[in-house]
Symmetry: D2
Subunit: 231 residues, 4 copies
């Protein structure tokens, strides 16, 4: 399984999948009762036609399961898209690690000195210019220290017998890496990509989207391109 590293310690893996460009076209032909074993030029046209005309149900007889490891605030953006989009299928399933049961050490996302961005000039959602590395370096250090302090307080509370769900109030949650499985159909994946690949999407979620795109494209090259073309 291919693993793409993102965001200073995170990653995306395509854990499993079902279907292919060919299974999309075979699903589309149920009305004609014709199945093919090899994708041909007519199928390419058919895939384009289905995406263009919005006949999307054939794209949902597919399934992709991703394992994602990103900071909590990126995970939240991801699921807010899913739950907020009104689109049925992307969340066939979502399984997320829980602070209650995890025994591994928590890991945190800390931007490097050259990765701090300024506020965008206008209110569009994208990102602004980077801060100077000097200025960024100061915040990297401050964040490291604040997170270390939070971890120390978390440990202190745990040792004093505080219930884990209260102790974690001390943890710097936004930057904490969480791991989850996300299973959706190709249409669900494309729906997410159409919203999060554009330039004006926030940087971190765009990085996640690009990794998802690369992994999905290897398995459904024509179908994914068509769905992104006519979103």
């Amino acid at each position: 399984m291919k693993k793409i590293d993102i965001l200073n310690g995170g990653y995306v893996i395509l854990q499993d999948y079902m279907g292919s460009d060919l299974s999309v076209t075979n699903s589309a032909r149920v009305s004609y009762n014709k199945k093919k074993d090899v994708l041909d030029d007519k199928d390419k046209g058919l895939i384009d036609f289905l995406a263009r005309e919005g006949h999307t149900s054939p794209f949902r007889h597919t399934s992709l399961q991703f394992e994602v490891y990103v900071p909590l605030y990126v995970a939240r953006q991801h699921w807010k898209h899913i739950i907020g989009s009104g689109f049925q299928d992307p969340f066939v399933a979502w399984n997320e690690s829980s602070r209650r049961y995890i025994t591994e050490e928590p890991e945190f996302y800390i931007p490097n000195a050259n990765e701090w961005r300024s506020k965008p000039a206008n209110s569009k959602q994208g990102s602004g210019e980077n801060l100077s590395e000097l200025s960024g370096g100061v915040f990297t250090k401050k964040l490291e220290e604040h997170i270390a302090e939070g971890e120390r307080l978390y440990e202190e509370a745990m040792e004093a017998g505080v219930a884990p769900e209260q102790a974690r109030l001390f943890l710097p949650a936004y930057s904490m890496f969480v791991r989850y499985y996300w299973t959706g159909s190709l249409q669900g994946v494309a729906h997410f990509l159409n919203l999060r690949l554009p330039e004006d999407a926030q940087y971190e979620i765009r990085v996640l989207a690009e990794a998802v795109q690369e992994l999905a494209h290897e398995k459904f090259p024509l179908s994914l391109d068509a769905l992104l073309k006519y979103n």
Copy 2:
């Protein structure tokens, strides 16, 4: 791909699938960040535990695509279950052949002389005793004739230039075979089976359910048994 014949001319095929008993347990362990390559005895216990306690999301990181060919009135019972159950996932997708585009000859379901059932004695949903073969034979013949007459009228209307969607008003729709793809997770499939396998379910839908069970069980033996045990 294995094909199970049912209902005098219909069938069920498991067209494709994603996952296994092992992928269920690996999904369940996301909180512990442990993946295994081979299913062991602990996994068996874990599958049983997940189903018993209703921790069902790991069962939804799976996908099964069936091709189904049954009379319309059975298809309708199938989708009414799906749409009526309030359960999210079984209809990742449903693609059905349309009378408008099909060029193949319509086929019809006609019970054999020994397959006509009487009304059940009480109001529970199951089926009653069979009619005598003599009595059944009469209805088989009458249905054949009525369907033939409907087909004749349909053809007559089509030849007179009537739009296909109006011409089909003459077709004996309930007994007409329709073909559809149904994609759902293992939990969605089990949800359907839990309602349609029992003795008191209508005969035709039970026959469909048994074929679905046989096909799904080959791929997810432990998980399906556990989901059916604790429904």
Copy 3:
């Protein structure tokens, strides 16, 4: 409750609803923590903005429950849209009458002599010219007779003790009126309308869509217009 009659014996009723144009804008402002009691001009702009930019979740904090009574083949087109669209919300619920429990007499849809249409000239999905009333009258009569014969055979089978679910194989199912409740959000309703209001939609489903539009528009005039404008 307003009732709109359609299709020679069918109807649509808006049974109940939740929300208003104002509740849409109040839902949209959750990030700003501002609620208004009266809709003003800024709200009109906001509704337009939300629909245009695809920020549709505020439109889903609404609910409309319709009672629909149409021939089975129209009902099937309706739910195929719903189940096939991959759109999450329109099927909050769907309850349909069942032949098994209904004690009322079945009613059937029979086009009038001047309502039979010819096949459309090209393969686009709309409808063709009407047949001559003379020619149509012939099919109206033939359909009446064929339906009457089917009903007679159904009664005969019922009297002979055949189980209702098998007896109905004799019923002319496509033209039989069915009654169902359909509950969805305004976005779900608009999604259906965007596909079924256009000229090239099949006549019967367009008639249903127009009635749904009229009823929904009375309760959500600005929001529905905006959703239809930017579909």
Copy 4:
């Protein structure tokens, strides 16, 4: 609109709703084509029957919209239930305030000195005994200070021009109050309550569940009781 205060600064409001115990029974009777205007004793029996036998679709022709204001870690438990339950309808819609657009001051959840709990004795999910008030007071103070420091660093980063989505890495996210709208059917609401009302659920989510129960019960007393009885 009734507002129930919970968790030191949070609240739940029933913003709007559609339906009643009567509309549930009327939806159930669609097969019989009978509507009533007043709920009678037979209806009470019918509601009990529907819940007991799992005929739940009539309960989904209802809708409740809640406004919820709770700490982020409680909100996350809430939506994890929703997204993880595989149950279709509870998330008709979810709208949540975003740190990006809010201009109001952030508010934080800090347990009082007498509200800190110890780890439960066994691994069941409930909560343990409370810490001594003396010991709890220490953690209340430490959390106040750590949150104040995080806020200070957040402000500092904002003033230095850091993009808000990065600046919030300094905020103590778990304890930060978030506001969201949650719209679901009565069945969806009951599904949540069945899992989160029991003694062994975590304290904070149980408090939220109890407020939701009180508000929903006022509008659907018989239906909610029946759904909770036979969960």
